[in-house]
């Protein structure tokens, strides 16, 4: 056994964060740990490296190569340097912004090799992780997210570790990059016969890479099995929820009641001027959204899909009136807008926005009731009673009771907060809701219920959605029409069936291939 964890307890104060888990990893084995945020999966990994925060209390036994982890920090550092490599979630904050990529790789080689060897090995490592030599000359901010993660992998591989620990290595990346990084890890582990501890909340990512899987729930290892077995025959209730959440259930296409256009975007273009430094040449303006036109019918759900940076969020901000297009106009309910930054009140009532991050979309110092009633300011004619009634109805229709209104945002879980964010979006009874990645910040097990809620609200209230996402599977469960966006342009527009069965544009094909 390369690593054996026996009855590991980790606690902060009274509450145990890791509650007696045991597992083992053979040399060359790939083991995946699945769990949602706060389940203790990262802490378990940190414990193996001896990198737990100072105020954490640890009990139980961890054996590495059949030896208990050394007590002294110096020996532990040796063990880490020679045998364990680690890759983190956020490559930007794990890299030094003031050092070139190759210098950071070379740094981890310094202890082991002479100067001449370092240069050669750095180049070899860059090649192994699929980068060119000139990438080594760049600083972290000059690399893309995927390239940064490749640099991180090269650093982790520098000392030829026997075990590679990956802590959510792809959750900050878009789907296509995620797939390439997973393929790279697969290749490297095969090639080096290296053991892998892969930590993720994403069952698909774990299953595609690891033969064995452990499922963590509130600090306990509730199921341990091969990944095939987990998918075919999940035993624990929580695993069942996870497996079901990863299955795509496509609702039948619904007949639209009307065929008039509720919302039309005509030739929308957004150009960002880049500030030039005093003496330097003027920088080229960035065209974020490039001559985009589309329409949404009453009660239709349209999805806008594309990789990060394709301009989809910029488009969303313009539609709800947080920004104005450089040229082009929108029209909603036959009223045009887009010349000025903010919408007029009667029009602003008809369009609302649900944000990606439910933790960030409520003022922590305001009660939920105050936050939810805020959009009602747009309608001066409402009496206090009517406002109260509208808030009660909104909370009820997202499946929460009205006593949540006196509580503060920190007292709710992520899923509940996203429900409340949806409640805020529907409280002014808008005709169109723009949803910017509504489930990507949520744990996998609760994504399904939020999507169900969206479908339910649409059939009940007849609202139209513009759903913005990078995830085709998720989109398929809600949308009637999918638009694929790339570099500011809409490159493909079709029904979900058509997109999945007969993709035309290369990006659409790439997005489909990146699904796990």
């Amino acid at each position: 056994m390369l690593v054996e964890v026996k009855n590991l307890f980790i606690s902060f104060g009274a509450r145990p964060a890791v509650d007696g888990i045991s597992f083992s990893i053979k040399a060359g084995e790939r083991f995946g740990l699945i769990g949602e945020s706060g389940s203790g999966k990262s802490l378990s990994a940190l414990a193996i490296c001896g990198l737990l925060p100072e105020n954490a209390k640890q009990a139980g036994e961890i054996l590495f190569n059949n030896m208990p982890l050394p007590k002294s920090e110096k020996q532990m550092a040796n063990l880490r340097g020679n045998n364990i490599g680690m890759i983190f979630q956020e490559p930007m904050s794990a890299l030094n912004p003031l050092m070139k990529a190759k210098a950071q790789i070379a740094e981890s080689l310094k202890i082991h090799f002479s100067k001449n060897q370092i240069l050669r090995r750095t180049q070899k490592l860059l090649k192994e992780v699929g980068l060119e030599i000139y990438h080594g000359e760049r600083f972290p901010h000059q690399l893309s997210g995927g390239q940064r993660q490749r640099v991180m992998i090269a650093i982790a591989l520098a000392a030829e570790p026997k075990l590679l620990i990956c802590d959510e290595p792809t959750s900050a990346l878009d789907l296509i990059t995620q797939k390439t990084i997973l393929n790279l890890l697969d290749e490297i582990c095969n090639h080096r016969q290296m053991a892998l501890l892969f930590i993720s909340h994403d069952l698909g990512a774990v299953a595609s890479l690891c033969e064995n899987v452990g499922v963590l729930k509130s600090g306990k290892l509730v199921e341990r099995s091969t990944s095939k077995e987990i998918f075919k025959n999940p035993k624990h209730d929580y695993t069942k929820i996870l497996v079901n959440a990863s299955k795509v259930i496509v609702p039948p296409l619904r007949e639209l009641s009307t065929h008039t256009d509720l919302f039309v975007a005509e030739n929308i273009t957004k150009i960002f001027k880049q500030n030039s430094l005093f003496f330097l040449a003027k920088q080229q303006p960035v065209i974020a959204v490039d001559n985009v036109s589309f329409s949404i019918k009453t009660s239709q759900a349209v999805a806008l899909v594309g990789p990060s940076g394709c301009g989809k969020s910029t488009l969303a901000r313009m539609i709800v009136g947080l920004d104005k297009p450089s040229s082009g106009v929108f029209s909603l309910l036959n009223k045009t807008y887009g010349k000025k930054k903010y919408l007029e009140r009667h029009l602003q009532r008809e369009v609302s926005l649900v944000f990606q991050d439910p933790y960030n979309s409520f003022n922590p110092r305001h009660t939920i009731g105050i936050s939810l009633s805020e959009p009602l300011r747009l309608n001066h004619s409402l009496t206090l009673e009517k406002k109260q009634k509208a808030v009660f109805e909104a909370v009820k229709s997202v499946g929460l009771s009205k006593d949540v209104l006196n509580r503060y945002p920190h007292q709710f879980s992520g899923g509940q907060r996203q429900r409340l964010a949806i409640a805020r979006a529907i409280v002014s009874k808008p005709a169109l809701i723009v949803l910017d990645e509504p489930v990507s910040a949520l744990d996998v097990s609760i994504r399904g219920e939020v999507l169900d809620l969206l479908n339910h609200l649409r059939s009940q209230l007849g609202i139209s959605y513009l759903l913005i996402s990078h995830d085709l599977d998720m989109v398929q469960m809600v949308a009637d029409k999918i638009m694929v966006m790339n570099e500011g342009k809409i490159v493909e527009m079709a029904s979900p069936k058509e997109i999945f069965n007969n993709p035309k544009h290369q990006l659409t094909k790439d997005l489909l291939a990146a699904r796990l």
Binding site: F12, G13, R15, A17, S37, G38, S39, G40, S42, L43, L46, L52, P53, E54, N55, A56, V320, G321, L322, Y342, R345, Q348, S352, L353, F355, Q356, D357, N360, S361, F362, N363, P364, R365, H366, S371, E374, P375, L376, R377, L378, H410, Q411, R424
Partner: protein, 290 residues
């Protein structure tokens, strides 16, 4: 989950902070002594009793008497009151003018923000105490002019702190949500941003309060602040300096009082910063690692 417990325990935890406890208790004792002097002092300080001057500590005069035979304890109490009032009003001027300026600068941006920032830089470019001396020298020495002079230099401090805090709040989604709900910049600044930077302002106020007490002492010491027959700690220092070699206690006592008040206020400020600023809290480890 742990965040709920964290909030409920914040006062308990703050109390467990040693320097906060010492600072708060000390500051409150001095503030109480000062407030009591409005209604009652052990002896009337407006009555001169030359025959009793330069007395040492005794059961009637706990800290002795000064060159006019006034009770030192009573003098210190009402001197501290003047110092506190000057500093408090000066901080309030900074808080009431500087904070809105900073908040509005952050939420409106553009030319208004530029003006506020340049105004700040202009005020910061002069050493505060020197400028205060100029102001009181021009408009005549008095406690009110001292208040105004110290207050003016509190404005840029609060403007800067609140603008900095506001900028970190303003990028949150809930500000965008408020904007979509029809709130204008002015509304957003006071309804959404202000409650979120309150802790920053509380900490800054306690620091500025101690600086204000020092500034008042400095101005009175050079004769530009409080004028006799009113008294203040700085004025007591000034009046006793010519007697220092003969009767050192007359200078040491107000000096020690100033030191103690400033020290307690700073300790309380540091403690408040630790208790209120989540970035400095150590128990966040679970949230970041879990």
């Amino acid at each position: 989950m742990s965040k709920i417990e964290k909030r409920e325990n914040i006062f308990k935890k703050a109390w467990g902070h040693l320097s906060l406890r010492i600072g708060l208790i000390g500051s409150i004792i001095f503030a109480l002594l000062a407030i009591i002097s409005i209604f009652w002092t052990p002896h009337d300080i407006t009555l001169l009793n030359i025959s009793n001057r330069f007395l040492g500590p005794s059961s009637t005069h706990w800290l002795g008497t000064d060159f006019f035979g006034r009770d030192m304890l009573s003098m210190l109490m009402s001197g501290a009151l003047t110092s506190f009032i000057v500093a408090l009003i000066a901080v309030s001027i900074g808080l009431l003018i500087g904070t809105p300026l900073g908040l509005l600068a952050a939420s409106y941006g553009g030319i208004f923000e530029w003006l506020v920032l340049k105004g700040n830089d202009f005020l910061f470019a002069f050493p505060a105490i020197i400028s205060a001396i100029i102001i009181t020298a021009i408009f005549g020495p008095s406690a009110i002019n001292a208040i105004i002079a110290i207050g003016i230099f509190n404005i840029p401090v609060f403007a800067r702190v609140s603008r900095g805090g506001a900028l970190s709040i303003i990028s949150n989604d809930y500000i965008a949500a408020a904007r979509l709900s029809g709130r204008n910049n002015f509304n957003i600044a006071f309804v959404h941003i202000l409650p979120n930077i309150a802790s920053l302002l509380i900490v800054q106020s306690s620091v500025q309060l101690s600086l204000g007490i020092l500034a008042e002492a400095g101005l009175s010491y050079v004769g530009l602040g409080t004028q006799p027959p009113a008294t203040s700690l700085g004025l007591m220092l000034k009046e006793s300096q010519s007697l220092f070699l003969l009767h050192p206690m007359l200078a040491i006592l107000p000096g020690l009082t100033i030191i103690a008040i400033v020290l307690f206020l700073n300790l309380a400020g540091d403690g408040l910063r630790d208790a209120l600023d989540p970035r400095l809290a150590k128990q966040g480890a679970l949230d970041s690692a879990g």
